[in-house]
């Protein structure tokens, strides 16, 4: 064990250049973490998904849908079975996104991948458990209840919550500013009227 570690330590005359090179390497790594706002991806905040503008239409569509009152992006698009699964998926998906991003492979119209369908289908049922119970559905939809197990919710409810498919050009004026928000006009703040209690 000790010997193997010894093998990693460079000989004395090499130590200075190696330390500098390693510093550059890690410095660049930290720079990438900072630029990509890597920390934000650990959260469930939908604003992390519009760190770049590629997902603007999806964000805008979701924000204008009833689902935005109760769900975040991750509630549907990330497995919620357990902690390990969730972050393993996030890491995997993040790497894929980074790859597509770097080589400019993202499409104009983003469509869900086949492999994620079961996961998203499961997430629908996670909240709408009662709605899909056979006993409940039978009297309401006598013709369809038999096929429940053979398909995902989104096979039929295709437009929830993002509406029909829309490309990058579909929401040109959905200006999304996750960072700053001035709820009170600047000129009012400059007057002597009291605004906050602090």
């Amino acid at each position: 064990m000790n010997k193997k570690l010894q093998w990693l330590i460079p000989p004395l005359p090499w130590r200075l250049p190696v330390a500098i090179l390693l510093g550059i390497f890690f410095g660049l790594g930290i720079l990438v973490l900072y630029l990509s706002k890597a920390g934000s991806y650990l959260s469930d905040d939908p604003k992390a998904c519009v760190n770049c503008h590629v997902m603007n239409p999806q964000y805008a569509n979701w924000a204008h849908d009833a689902h935005s009152r109760v769900t975040t992006c991750n509630d549907c698009h990330v497995p919620q079975t357990d902690f390990f699964n969730k972050y393993f998926f996030k890491a995997k998906d993040g790497l894929k996104h980074a790859y597509a991003f770097t080589f400019r492979l993202e499409p104009q119209v983003i469509i869900m991948e086949k492999e994620t369908r079961p996961m998203i289908g499961g997430n629908c049922i996670r909240c709408h458990t009662e709605t899909v119970q056979k006993e409940f559905l039978k009297p309401v939809l006598p013709l369809y209840h038999n096929h429940l197990e053979e398909r995902y919710c989104l096979d039929c409810h295709r437009f929830i919550p993002h509406g029909s498919v829309g490309g990058l050009a579909s929401t040109p004026n959905a200006l999304i500013h996750p960072k700053k928000r001035n709820t009170v006009a600047g000129w009012i703040k400059e007057t002597n009227i009291a605004i906050s209690n602090e």
Binding site: C52, G166, T171, N173, T183, W187, I188, N197
Partner: protein
């Protein structure tokens, strides 16, 4: 030292090149992020530069054609629902009792259903309530009446100061406030974020001990509406601006009807003395936001914009419809976003609530009219101030509650339960006042029923309270013909001097 010799040279070379590749890719990734960040700045490429406090909606429209085009549809007055809509409706003709209830106040002269934001300036000029001022210091109303009518208001407030804007007669700013309600009333010119531009709402939040800067985006989608669609009064007793009709919301104790009554009672505020009963009356002004807050939709986190400005799609592009109108005009894009019932069912659900509220509202109005008329009979029979005090007290409260429900737009849908409760309170107080009157009148030698006036039509009702409508209308016509064109002329000259700068 001996260990180095044991190393195989190609292992080091592999390590070296692998690191080169990793660092290169990381650099590529980093540079692509930086590029995308720069790119996202240009996702939205404006055509013209919008100056801060730009009041002309058409200038904003250059950059946001879809939003502007839909906003222009507020010009459309064709939609009429069972009780409201955007169609022009003469509310006094529809319900002549209103004339008697507001006897002694400008609302008895003229009260029309609000048509749409497009008509904000036109309507305030045309209504008989603003009179027919002949010069800047003439007329019945203060400048405060402009507060909610135009994006010229924040422009002037910024230039003159808030209290200085409210100061003076309504006619003095006639040539300055000319653009109808629009973009700059709710939006930041650079980020397009929703923004509060009326100080009264900021001050009202402060008075409640709340901080409006903490409002979420979803709350802002209602609060920009709450800048105007609320109950307000003109505070003329402010120490920092005496004799100025300072626009104020009575929210110190909260936003309920009771909280407003408590506040007004505490500061001894009265809107007008009733011409018949001599009651010191409180006139409620469209507490739309307040009553909405008490309803189930607000409770579930729905904002005004969710139903009045739905997300729509035109030619593959999605945007928020700025055609602000009753959701009943577009049930598919509003109600049915959440509710799965058919249009007919949903419409029936709304109408059922409105009809039931209308039923008790009518009862409350008849009671109130009777109370006013009987109080007048008591005065005429020689009643003393002391005897009348408890009577008028009850009428005052009854009228406040009734008006709070009646003046609010859409309240019987926004919050049917709360509205029926408030009307119930009004009915109780009217009855109470009439019981007192029924005991008082015989003591004054008046027995038998006080006859209910013939107020079957608006004209009859206005005649009953002694309004000379022909005179008022003639003066208004003259004002529209002589004064208003001069205002428009002056405004045009001013706005022509503001260049529209194209963005590169």
């Amino acid at each position: 030292m001996t260990e180095i010799k044991k190393r195989i040279p190609w292992v080091n070379w592999v390590l070296f090149f692998a690191t080169v590749v990793v660092v290169f890719l990381l650099g590529l990734f980093a540079s692509s992020i930086v590029e995308r960040k720069a790119e996202s700045e240009y996702v939205y490429k404006p055509r013209v530069k919008i100056r801060e406090l730009e009041p002309r909606n058409s200038v904003w429209g250059e950059n946001f054609p879809r939003e502007y085009q839909t906003y222009l549809r507020t010009k459309d007055t064709s939609f009429r629902s069972k009780f409201n809509g955007s169609a022009p409706i003469d509310m006094l003709a529809e319900d002549p009792r209103l004339v008697v209830l507001w006897a002694g106040y400008a609302f008895s002269k003229n009260y029309d259903q609000s048509k749409g934001h497009y008509y904000a300036i036109r309507d305030i000029r045309e209504t008989l309530r603003t009179g027919a001022p002949k010069d800047p210091d003439d007329g019945p109303q203060p400048n405060t009446c402009w507060s909610c009518k135009s994006p010229d208001v924040p422009r002037l407030m910024q230039a003159k100061g808030i209290a200085a804007f409210y100061k003076g007669k309504w006619a003095s700013l006639g040539d300055e406030v000319v653009n109808y309600i629009g973009c700059a009333d709710c939006h930041d010119p650079v980020t397009m974020d929703l923004q509060i531009t009326r100080p009264a709402l900021v001050e009202a939040f402060k008075a409640m001990g709340k901080d409006i800067t903490k409002a979420s985006h979803q709350e802002m989608r209602s609060l920009v509406c709450a800048q105007c669609h609320v109950e307000y009064y003109f505070d003329k007793k402010r120490q920092d601006s005496p004799d100025v009709a300072y626009l104020t919301f009575p929210w110190k104790y909260g936003t309920t009807a009771e909280a407003g009554l408590k506040y007004y009672t505490e500061i001894l505020f009265t809107d007008f003395i009733h011409q018949l009963s001599r009651t010191p009356v409180l006139k409620a002004q469209h507490p739309d936001y307040e009553l909405f807050l008490t309803g189930i939709h607000a409770d579930r986190g729905v904002a005004c914009a969710d139903c009045h400005m739905p997300y729509i799609k035109e030619g593959g592009q999605k945007f928020t419809s700025h055609h602000i109108v009753s959701p009943l005009a577009n049930i598919a894009n509003t109600c049915q976003v959440c509710h799965r019932e058919s249009e007919e069912t949903l419409l029936e659900n709304v109408y059922e609530r409105q009809e039931k509220i209308k039923q008790i509202r009518d009862l409350a109005e008849v009671e109130l009219v009777k109370a006013h008329v009987e109080a007048k009979a008591a005065w005429d029979a020689g009643a003393g101030e002391k005897e009348m005090e408890p009577v008028l007290d009850n009428i005052r409260i009854a009228q406040w509650y009734w008006d709070y429900a009646a003046a609010s737009h859409g309240a019987s849908f926004h919050s049917p339960l709360e509205v029926s409760r408030i009307i119930g309170l009004s009915l109780d107080k009217s009855k109470e006042s009439r019981i007192l009157l029924a005991r008082l009148l015989p003591k004054l030698g008046k027995t038998g029923e006080v006859p209910y006036p013939d107020i079957a039509t608006k004209e009859k009702a206005q005649q009953f309270i002694g309004l000379n409508m022909d005179q008022l209308k003639k003066e208004k016509e003259e004002f529209m013909k002589t004064v208003v064109p001069l205002w428009d002329q002056k405004a045009k000259e001013r706005e022509n001097s503001w260049p529209v700068v194209l963005e590169k």
